[in-house]
């Protein structure tokens, strides 16, 4: 498997082994193994409903696995106390599919909320500086006093990413970053993901079913089908596979784009 040179091959920031998760009779994850190196972008590709979002919610500790082992930044997620999990989450950024911006707050309040709540000793000037820095990073300074309802889908995604960046995370988890966006805005978001990786030195897991997003953001692609990873490698390696399911996924994307 090819790993780009800028990625630390020594240090795995996420290690997942034998992960199982079911919802009633629906066995979503059936023995998932995955690791993420420091400063690497891994794209998890798969059809809707294959458990991609469930996987990153388990990594973030939002869902509990039925079986398996998850280590994030050297910590076993399933064995952490509430306070230890909170400390770990300060190093994790989670960009939600629908942005999950707080409706009742302005963009500024959305951005400063994680900072204000987690670091109560910070002075107003320090908070303002941090807010200006992240909103500049996503190129939306002009929206600072707007309400989330006044933003477009692409702007909401960018503000969602900015809100996670304010805590300076080491790992970013993107849930369908380009879902529901037009092709041009999708390219902007893909560029933003790469920019975040370079500027903030993050390692990322990007959940998507968008091949353009996978190709332009992923150092490595992991194909999730029927609850297991059937192929991992570079984009070209994965889609050079003889597996009919992977071929049909590729064809389907291009026919329907």
């Amino acid at each position: 498997m090819h790993i780009p040179d800028n990625i630390s091959k020594e240090e795995k920031v996420i290690v997942i082994e034998g992960l199982y998760k079911s919802f009633g009779e629906n066995h979503v994850l059936r023995g998932v193994d995955l690791h993420l190196y420091r400063r690497e972008n891994v794209v998890v590709l798969g059809r809707s409903g294959t458990g991609k979002s469930v996987l990153i919610k388990i990594i973030a500790g939002l869902l509990k696995p039925d079986e398996g082992h998850i280590s994030v930044l050297g910590k076993d997620v399933e064995n952490l106390s509430g306070e230890q999990l909170r400390q770990l989450r300060l190093k994790l950024g989670f960009s939600f599919q629908n942005s999950a911006l707080y409706d009742s707050m302005t963009v500024r309040e959305n951005l400063e909320f994680p900072l204000v709540q987690n670091f109560k000793h910070l002075k107003r000037a320090e908070i303002n500086k941090a807010v200006e820095e992240v909103i500049d990073a996503v190129g939306l300074s002009q929206t600072i006093n707007q309400m989330p309802a006044e933003l477009s889908g692409g702007q909401r995604k960018r503000i969602g990413v900015a809100r996670t960046l304010i805590l300076r995370p080491e790992i970013m988890l993107y849930d369908e970053p380009t879902a529901g966006l037009d092709p041009i805005t999708s390219i902007d978001i893909n560029n933003l993901i790469n920019e975040v990786q370079h500027r903030y030195h993050t390692s990322s897991i990007i959940i998507t079913h968008d091949l353009t997003c996978a190709k332009s953001t992923g150092d490595r692609v992991a194909m999730l089908l029927d609850g297991i990873f059937v192929k991992q490698g570079s984009f070209d390696e994965v889609f050079a596979s003889d597996d009919e399911r992977i071929k049909s996924f590729y064809d389907y994307n291009f026919i329907h784009q």
Binding site: G31, E67, A100
Partner: protein
């Protein structure tokens, strides 16, 4: 390896009911575990006090005033039959302080505050805003639930006293119009029939009702699912469940206060 551990178990109707009760109980117990430990979200608590208390005043004023006025009007003919209309201030004050003010305030707040909490938290749940809070290392239970529960529990007794006051004013208006009773003699007569236990029983009732309304609203909101339909269901269920619980609690508290009063 078997990946079905536990998760594929499908509970029956009765098991589901007890599971539901267990989850509700755990949700309430979490309040007592976390409410008095830092961090405290004082600003959010004040904001909720303003929303729940101050913003309920117009509705409470109208309903309280009408309750006092109508109760007096309805009671007059029965007392007039015995030539006992002078007892109206005492009768009304006992009825308002002991029963009507806590109950009317609670029912109004169940409709206004309970549904608001259920819908707001339900909407935050289905749009993943609660998850977003959690992954930002913020405890959503402390920030959203504890602040609302404390604010409602504190505001309900204050609103209850306000309801009692405007209810008495409504009653006074009617008594004054019919019997030309002065303001001072009306309130002297009214307060002479209320004792310390009446006030305390009403304060306890209001505290319990406030806790119930906000806890039920928060629980329903936190467990909302199925998109916008789920939000509507959470709001509706918050009102229905809290009203039902308020009546059950009313019976229990009345029995206890009557026992303490030495009656049946």
């Amino acid at each position: 390896m078997n990946g079905n551990t536990g998760a594929s178990y499908k509970p029956g109707k009765i098991s589901r009911f007890f599971l539901h009760v267990y989850h509700a109980f755990a949700f309430v117990m979490r309040f007592f575990r976390e409410a008095f430990l830092p961090p405290f979200h004082f600003k959010e608590f004040i904001r909720q006090c303003y929303n729940i208390g101050y913003r309920s005043l117009p509705l409470i004023s109208i309903t309280g005033f009408i309750t006092g006025l109508v109760f007096t009007k309805q009671s007059r003919p029965s007392l007039a039959d015995f030539g006992a209309t002078s007892w109206l201030p005492s009768l009304v004050s006992i009825a308002i302080v002991r029963a009507l003010a806590p109950l009317v305030t609670a029912l109004i707040c169940a409709g206004k505050v309970g549904s608001n909490i259920g819908a707001e938290l339900g909407s935050m749940k289905v749009t993943e805003q609660i998850d977003a809070m959690e992954v930002s290392a913020i405890n959503p239970y402390k920030y959203l639930v504890i602040t609302r529960v404390l604010a409602t529990t504190l505001m309900l007794p204050l609103l209850m006293f306000y309801t009692a006051f405007v209810g008495m004013m409504g009653s006074y208006l009617d008594v004054h119009a019919n019997e030309q009773t002065s303001f001072i003699s009306f309130f002297e007569s009214a307060f002479s029939s209320i004792n310390f236990l009446d006030y305390w029983a009403s304060i306890v009732k209001a505290l319990v009702y406030g806790f119930t309304i906000s806890m039920v609203g928060s629980y329903k909101g936190f467990h909302a699912s199925n998109g916008t339909t789920g939000v509507g269901q959470a709001a509706n269920s918050a009102v229905v469940t809290s009203m039902f619980l308020i009546f059950i609690e009313e019976i229990i508290i009345v029995q206890i206060s009557n026992f303490l009063r030495g009656g049946a």
